[in-house]
């Protein structure tokens, strides 16, 4: 089947570029699937749920990490149009990627679950879209659900974006109800793209993906001029030039085209093998007679959260390096460099955009590369200024400078929390404990409230989200964005086993939280580390000052009483098994620490039954 959308260089006035802003689980992928179906680009029988989410982990977690985009034909009043739907990542870690995806659009569908209302993440992205002057089309989804309360949430949305409740569309992405009308609305409301067709080419990269067979596939939105196959292009941030091997559109499989014109969205392939050579936000132009000014808004990806990743089996170190290198091909934000831990051996200090980014990366390393990993407690980046004026940037607690510190700065965030008003007290209490400062509070509707806090990023990445969820029975949603840095009274707490500091357990914490951290870790470790042939003292210390202490008593008996003739084979096999188990032990000085103890001690969850 051929359609109007199959050929490119469509006149800009017949193009509409839009994205969908929605919270996880509010049905964005289902709506996208339905749009593919209703516009005929995917036949019903070829449809698989969440067509656009490619990675297994995304499908499993039901979230989108990497944006995808698709070109759809749609007719309104007999006039053919081309719609570019740009899928946006749905998580707080990827705010920058979201901002670039929004930049590629003129309109945004605000999709809200009619049974749950708007969530903090959605609100943040909505504000971002409004700042970018995108046309917002408000939509309530899942109106077929028995629990749906479209009238209530239509009012809420109208209140936030400043429209009439009647203007909020109502659809069911699941059944397809109202989806056609929504596409009509996109054509009618979203402005057509505007650009200079005769100017030098300028196209913005809003995503780039590594493909095993094709190398890096770069997704672009043409602003000015045109991009055609067989020309040489230049990346304006670095000046690197590449030959274009293919230009095409996605509908939803990639199709080569004769180029892309003003306002069009598609992909290009140059044969580069590493997404860091094709960075999100960068401007693509022609090598010859190229543009002199890049498009605004480009930023180098910058890790916010660091964690050490170590193979459980030290001999897997080369595999871990290779796997990280492969992941980096597709993840420009991931950084890593070799690091050695006395306790954990050889590993890598990895930088991530946030906690989810960390978790996903770890998941992929374990699942796709079959690695068994230990990750150290995540930390943020600290800036330490010494009394002598020297400055240290600390990405690993082990690098915390000794000596006289004059000032310590930590990254802070602006947080938005949306929750039913019943939980205001619980949320405020939690935020205060996490050193948050209330910036403001608004009622979105009678019983839903938005709280704004300034809070250290280091507190958020620890266990804030889990605590927030448990204190609000899962009803609260959270969003945060970086908001510079602030001075704080921070100290490094070391954990010592038999007098020897275990680098993997060191943490930078606020002075007032040091005792709590020290006691918690010492108690946890006493429970997790099996008794040894000698007594093992566990201490928590700030510098040379011990703030907490526990003792693991020496084991007194480790011998099987009986050993008759028929036991010998069994005894030897038991010994072999125990020896295998010993290989999974990490030695801290002379103390054997099971891997599980590291994993459990480093996880932020409290031991069961102790809350």
């Amino acid at each position: 089947m051929t359609t109007f959308a199959d050929t490119t260089f469509t006149p800009p006035e017949l193009i509409r570029n839009f994205c969908i802003i929605a919270h996880i689980d509010h049905g964005k992928s289902t709506l996208a699937d339905r749009m593919l179906q209703i516009t005929g680009v995917v036949e019903a029988r070829a449809m698989r749920a969440q067509y656009l989410d490619r990675m297994d982990i995304e499908r499993e977690r039901g979230i989108t990490i990497k944006a995808q985009n698709v070109r759809l034909p749609w007719q309104v009043d007999g006039q053919d149009h081309v719609l570019h739907m740009i899928d946006t990542p749905g998580h707080v870690d990827f705010t920058y990627e979201v901002s670039r995806a929004l930049e590629a659009c003129e309109g945004a569908v605000l999709l809200v679950d009619a049974a749950q209302g708007i969530e903090a993440q959605t609100l943040a992205n909505l504000y971002l879209a409004m700042e970018n002057e995108l046309t917002i089309i408000p939509v309530l989804n899942k109106i077929d659900l028995p629990a749906a309360d479209p009238d209530k949430y239509a009012k809420e949305i109208a209140h936030i974006i400043g429209c009439e409740p009647e203007e909020v569309l109502r659809v069911s992405a699941k059944t397809g109800l109202g989806v056609g009308e929504l596409l009509d609305e996109v054509v009618k409301k979203v402005p057509a793209p505007v650009g200079e067709a005769d100017s030098p080419a300028r196209a913005m990269i809003f995503d780039s993906v590594y493909d095993t067979y094709r190398g890096v596939v770069t997704y672009i939105r043409v602003v000015d001029g045109k991009i055609t196959p067989r020309e040489r292009i230049k990346m304006m941030s670095t000046g690197a030039t590449h030959e274009i091997l293919e230009v095409g559109i996605v509908s939803p499989e990639p199709k080569p085209s004769r180029g892309l014109g003003v306002g069009e969205v598609g992909y290009l392939i140059t044969g580069v093998k590493d997404v860091r050579q094709s960075k999100v936000g960068d401007t693509v132009t022609s090598e010859k007679k190229g543009a002199s000014e890049p498009l605004a808004g480009y930023r180098e990806p910058r890790p916010m959260v660091y964690s050490g990743l170590y193979p459980v089996d030290g001999s897997d170190y080369p595999e871990l390096r290779e796997a990280l290198e492969k992941l980096q091909l597709n993840d420009a934000a991931l950084t890593f460099e070799p690091e050695t831990s006395a306790a954990l051996g050889f590993g890598f200090r990895c930088g991530f955009l946030g906690l989810l980014h960390l978790e996903i990366t770890r998941d992929r390393l374990e699942r796709e590369y079959g690695l068994d990993l230990i990750s150290t407690a995540p930390n943020v980046v600290y800036r330490v200024i010494m009394e002598d004026g020297t400055e240290h940037v600390v990405t690993n607690p082990s690098d915390w400078p000794e000596g006289k510190r004059a000032e310590v700065y930590e990254p802070v965030t602006k947080c938005t929390i949306i929750a039913p008003s019943d939980y205001i007290g619980a949320i405020m209490e939690l935020c205060q404990a996490k050193r948050g400062q209330l910036g403001g509070m608004d009622y979105l509707s009678e019983d839903r409230v938005e709280l704004r806090y300034t809070m250290p990023l280091g507190e958020i990445i620890f266990d804030f989200f889990d605590s927030l969820k448990s204190r609000t029975r899962g009803y609260a949603s959270l969003d945060y964005e970086e908001a510079g840095e602030a001075e704080a009274d921070l100290v490094k707490v070391d954990i010592l086993l038999q007098g020897e500091a275990v680098d993997a357990f060191s943490a930078i914490v606020h002075k007032d939280h040091a005792y709590g951290y020290g006691t918690r870790m010492a108690t946890k470790l006493r429970e997790l580390i099996p008794r040894q042939q000698f007594e093992v003292p566990i201490q928590a210390a700030i510098g040379s000052r011990v703030i907490a202490r526990e003792t693991i008593r020496a084991i007194r008996k480790d011998v099987l009483a009986k050993c008759y003739g028929g036991d010998i084979t069994r005894k030897r096999k038991l010994l072999e098994k125990q020896k295998e188990g010993k290989k999974r032990m990490k030695m801290v000085g002379r103390v054997e620490v099971p891997q599980e103890a590291f994993v459990a001690a480093l996880s932020t969850e409290e031991p069961k039954g102790k809350k």
């Binding site: 084991i555 480790d558 003739g565 010998i568 030897r572």
Partner: protein, 402 residues
């Protein structure tokens, strides 16, 4: 429930052994173990290969067992070539005393006929105190038994009850006296400590009783809760507490100090004797890697680096032999390293210690550290567990091996 057999390779149906295992046969001590798989009732802690009359029904009997035993003795004699006179015989179970003096005489007669005994051979039978009498001891003494091992376990009535032992607290001491009166110079009492509910005073009373009985050998074992036993189920259900390792350690120290004070010396982690002559030579043979053939259902053998084990059920055992087949269920041929590992884990438990040249370079270095830690002490070119080391023997073994 009897525990499972090890996994190994299939054993040949004719019972044959690799030629390599037979070389040097006869130059090492050769022992015979006979397994009597019968008990009147099953004790809750026991996972040995034994069966009650109710469990066996008509499928097996002491008569069919004895017939199988005779056949296995003939098979073994032909597999080993020239018959090797046994330097030790140990009849264990199950409850050998259930066979009565006549049955035990038949067993020894069959051994005389197939293998013969070396001069001065040690011939032991286990017995349950409640199935012995002065007449029983006189009968087996006449038959040629030289040593009796009695399952005493405890002198506390409530401990015996948890262990399902049927004898009265005073009976083992009486039985030991009867055995000595019948001419047995070597009598052993078995103790179990750490039974749920056992108090230090109970163990002290047991030790007093042992010393009062005037035996020359004591085996004292910490209670092991074996998977699949009634005791394990009672503990899992929470009816009884799991024995605590720290309490077991204290109990061991109590046993060792009481016996040492009364002229006993430990010669293996769980075994004490009043003299070298009083040691159980048969058990020492196990621990020193000598050859032995274990006869009877579920019995394990070791000949020149090959370990093999028989099918467990008495009915299957007898029928295989009746069909002219070996009763072996499986075997393993030990590698050089396996044999070295076994030497470390067995000989380290002995008071005479482990020759240091059995260890590799790293093992010898680790042995030095274990000496510094107070777990081992050097003795000529051997290393010997210290008092504290005995309680941590398995941990020391793990340290000494790669």
């Amino acid at each position: 429930m009897p525990s499972a057999l090890p996994e190994g390779e299939p054993a040949p149906a004719d019972g044959s052994l690799p030629a390599s295992s037979l070389s040097g046969l006869g130059s090492r001590p050769f022992g015979i173990y006979v397994h009597v798989p019968f008990c009147a009732t099953r004790c809750g802690y026991c996972d040995f290969n034994t069966y009650t009359p109710g469990e066996l029904g008509s499928s097996a009997s002491p008569e069919s067992w004895l017939e199988g035993l005779r056949r296995e003795l003939d098979l073994a004699a032909s597999v080993l070539g020239t018959p090797v006179p046994a330097s030790t015989v140990f009849v264990g179970g199950g409850t050998p005393s259930l066979l009565g003096a006549a049955g035990l005489t038949d067993v020894l007669d069959a051994i005389y006929q197939s293998f013969g005994l070396a001069p001065g051979a040690e011939v032991t039978t286990e017995s349950n105190p409640e199935s012995t009498s002065p007449e029983f001891f006189a009968g087996i003494r006449d038959a040629g038994y030289t040593r009796v091992s009695l399952g005493m376990q405890s002198a506390a009535r409530h401990v015996l009850a948890v262990l399902d032992r049927k004898h009265t607290p005073g009976r083992p001491v009486d039985a030991a006296r009867e055995a000595r009166a019948a001419g047995f110079e070597h009598v052993n009492l078995d103790l179990i400590y750490g039974t749920p509910g056992e108090r230090p005073s109970d163990l002290a009373a047991s030790l007093d009783a042992v010393l009062e009985a005037g035996v020359d050998h004591v085996s004292a074992y910490a209670l092991i809760v074996e998977d699949g036993t009634g005791l394990a189920r009672r503990i899992r259900r929470g009816d009884l507490p799991m024995p605590d390792d720290d309490v077991l350690a204290s109990s061991y120290e109590m046993v060792d100090s009481a016996l040492s004070g009364a002229g006993f010396s430990w010669y293996e982690v769980s075994n004490w004797a009043t003299s070298v002559e009083a040691q159980c030579r048969h058990n020492v043979l196990y621990w020193k890697g000598a050859d032995w053939w274990g006869f009877g259902p579920g019995a394990h053998s070791h000949v020149g680096g090959v370990r093999f084990w028989n099918v467990k059920h008495p009915a299957r055992y007898s029928s295989l032999l009746a069909e002219g087949h070996s009763p072996a269920a499986g075997r393993e041929v030990l590698s050089e390293e396996d044999r070295r590992v076994e030497r470390v884990l067995l000989e380290l438990r002995l008071a005479e210690g482990l020759p240091l040249d059995v260890l590799d370079e790293a093992g010898r270095e680790e042995a030095k550290r274990a000496v510094a830690d107070g777990l081992l002490e050097p003795l000529d070119d051997r290393c010997v567990l210290t008092d504290r080391g005995r309680l941590l023997a398995d941990a020391v073994v793990r340290r000494l091996l790669p």
